[in-house]
């Protein structure tokens, strides 16, 4: 990761808004990605991830606000060959071999990496002579990755890069991606796999309804969502007092078991002990999964969120 520098940020959204019909896909988005960072855009389907990516690649223009890539308009950064991207939902290009395709894309950039290097980074060396439209889903995905990095861009943008990959291919993919990021390049990827965001990004930006809901490391997000989960057996006792316990931000009752999300597990446990409500007591850190759900999901029937974590 680069330290503070006078460089322009790799990506800067300033109050960017994009509307499709009645839907505000991106709604006043403010987000800055520094050069050299690896950032995950995390959100459910329809959270605005792909729209945000379309804006920063210059495929779309914001209705209002500003989007800048390396301090310039996105299409200028793209034309200068500073950006590479792997788009979602692309079907393979027909009647062309892997090497022809990657070689062609490389040639459109001012200072590409050698084609063999791009193929090796994407794990395609053995498939170079194969036709792209005759590869498996995972292999096609790797071709798209090779296409994204062939030009040796400083910023690489990956829209749900591992959606079609099995576990092993996913691991290989992230190894390649980390190799690329380690060269000082900026990586921005969207995903709805929390573990991926946690494991491979320096920073996680949670998007919901086109806005940044949370922004920080995995640890920070877990804290923001209420750092721990305290659970115990109710033994048929009442539940109305659970929300009043110190530190508790939300609670849920499943069967006879109360699950409390708390920002201060010590205080919560002490309070429970005073009431002697410690049957089968458990304290666990919230998973990023819990944190994500707490951040994005509106409370449902059996759970009440007392205070929206931010």
């Amino acid at each position: 990761m680069t330290t503070d520098s006078p460089q322009d940020p790799a990506v800067a959204f300033t109050a960017a808004t994009k509307t499709y019909g009645a839907v505000r896909a991106v709604d006043g988005l403010d987000l800055t990605v520094r050069q050299g960072e690896t950032v995950a855009l995390l959100g459910r389907n329809g959270a605005g991830k792909s729209t945000a990516i379309g804006l920063l690649l210059g495929l779309d223009e914001p209705d209002s606000g500003r989007v800048a890539v390396f301090g310039a308009a996105p299409d200028r950064a793209v034309a200068a060959g500073r950006v590479g991207a792997m788009l979602q939902e692309a079907r393979p290009v027909s009647r062309v071999t892997v090497r022809e395709l990657v070689g062609f894309v490389a040639r459109t950039y001012p200072s590409p990496m050698p084609v063999d290097e791009a193929l090796a980074l994407a794990g395609l060396t053995g498939l170079a002579g194969r036709r792209v439209d005759r590869l498996s889903g995972g292999q096609t995905q790797r071709v798209r990755f090779a296409v994204a990095l062939a030009g040796n861009p400083e910023l690489i943008v990956l829209d749900e890069p591992t959606a079609a990959l099995d576990v092993e291919a996913r691991q290989e993919f992230w190894d390649s991606m980390r190799g690329y990021a380690r060269r000082g390049n900026t990586v921005l990827f969207s995903t709805h796999y929390l573990e991926e965001a946690d494991a491979y990004a320096d920073r996680i930006v949670v998007l919901d309804s086109g806005r940044v809901l949370a922004d920080g490391t995995g640890e920070e997000l877990k804290r923001a969502a209420g750092g721990s989960l305290v659970s115990f057996d109710l033994a048929g006792g009442p539940t109305d007092w659970l929300g009043l316990l110190p530190g508790v931000t939300s609670f849920e009752v499943r069967g006879d078991r109360a699950r409390l999300r708390t920002g201060d597990s010590d205080a919560t446990v002490r309070a429970l002990a005073r009431r002697d409500a410690v049957r089968a007591l458990e304290v666990a850190p919230v998973s990023l999964n819990d944190a994500f759900l707490a951040l994005t999901r509106p409370p449902h029937a059996t759970a009440r969120t007392l205070e929206t974590a931010r």
Binding site: G58, E89, A90, V93, R95, V105, Y109
Partner: protein, 239 residues
């Protein structure tokens, strides 16, 4: 950059077996069939050679648009937009691709005429006919590109086939215009395909192409060019 793009797209086109069959195989076959069924008529064999070569070139030129529509639906055009190639370079590259992929069709039918049908012309006339047909196919490439950017992949395929057959038949590429009723002949005069073949036939006769033929083709080229430009601009945001 454009050269690399044209090379890629030409490869992709030529690797499509359907392309080779419909733009080289079918015109050559139809040419040999039509000219060897009826009476032995060397003038007709020459005129039909030009007509069928023009037909093949027409199909090849329109197929560029079918390719555009396909690439739009697979996301390849979108991927191209995030390379340093400008959209204008992409369209230009496509048009240039059209000028390359019409060549096998023209060469195929001319070869069939010279080798199988014994068409005899002065040495200069062969390259001159090929060159004329080659240049004259540009308006049809523009028409195909216009369709490709404007319509969906399926619709483009259908519309291009309709354009291909309609323009070929009405333009007299399949059957001599002399066989047409008066009203159809009048209509035929206005088609770009008829004028396209007329240019080629003039070369085989050793005469200069008629000014009206050039004017009609130029008019259609301007119209199809504008159509391609408007379609492209309209779709640019959606691609």
């Amino acid at each position: 950059m454009i050269t690399a793009y044209v090379r890629l797209e030409v490869r992709r086109t030529l690797r499509d077996p359907g392309f080779a069959i419909s733009t080289v195989g079918v015109p050559v076959m139809m040419y040999l069939l039509f000219t060897n069924l009826g009476a032995d008529d060397s003038a007709y064999r020459t005129a039909a050679m030009v007509g069928m070569a023009a037909y093949g070139a027409l199909g090849a030129a329109l197929s560029v648009g079918t390719g555009v529509a396909e690439d739009k639906s697979t996301g390849w055009l979108r991927q191209l937009r995030i390379t340093p190639m400008t959209p204008r370079q992409v369209v230009t590259g496509r048009a240039l691709t059209g000028t390359v992929v019409v060549l096998p069709a023209i060469a195929g039918v001319l070869l069939a005429g010279g080798l199988a049908n014994g068409v005899r012309m002065d040495a200069w006339q062969w390259p001159a006919v090929a060159l004329t047909l080659w240049l004259g196919s540009l308006p049809f490439t523009l028409l195909g590109i216009g369709n490709g950017y404007r319509l969906t992949a399926q619709t483009t395929g259908v519309v291009n086939v309709a354009c291909n057959l309609g323009l070929a038949v009405v333009g007299g590429l399949w059957f001599p215009v002399a066989l047409f009723p008066d009203w159809l002949r009048a209509l035929s005069e206005a088609t770009p395909t008829h004028r396209f073949a007329e240019l080629g036939v003039a070369v085989t006769d050793g005469t200069a192409p008629a000014a009206t033929a050039l004017a009609v083709i130029a008019g259609w080229a301007a119209l199809f060019g504008a159509y391609a430009a408007v379609s492209y601009r309209r779709s640019a945001r959606a691609v």
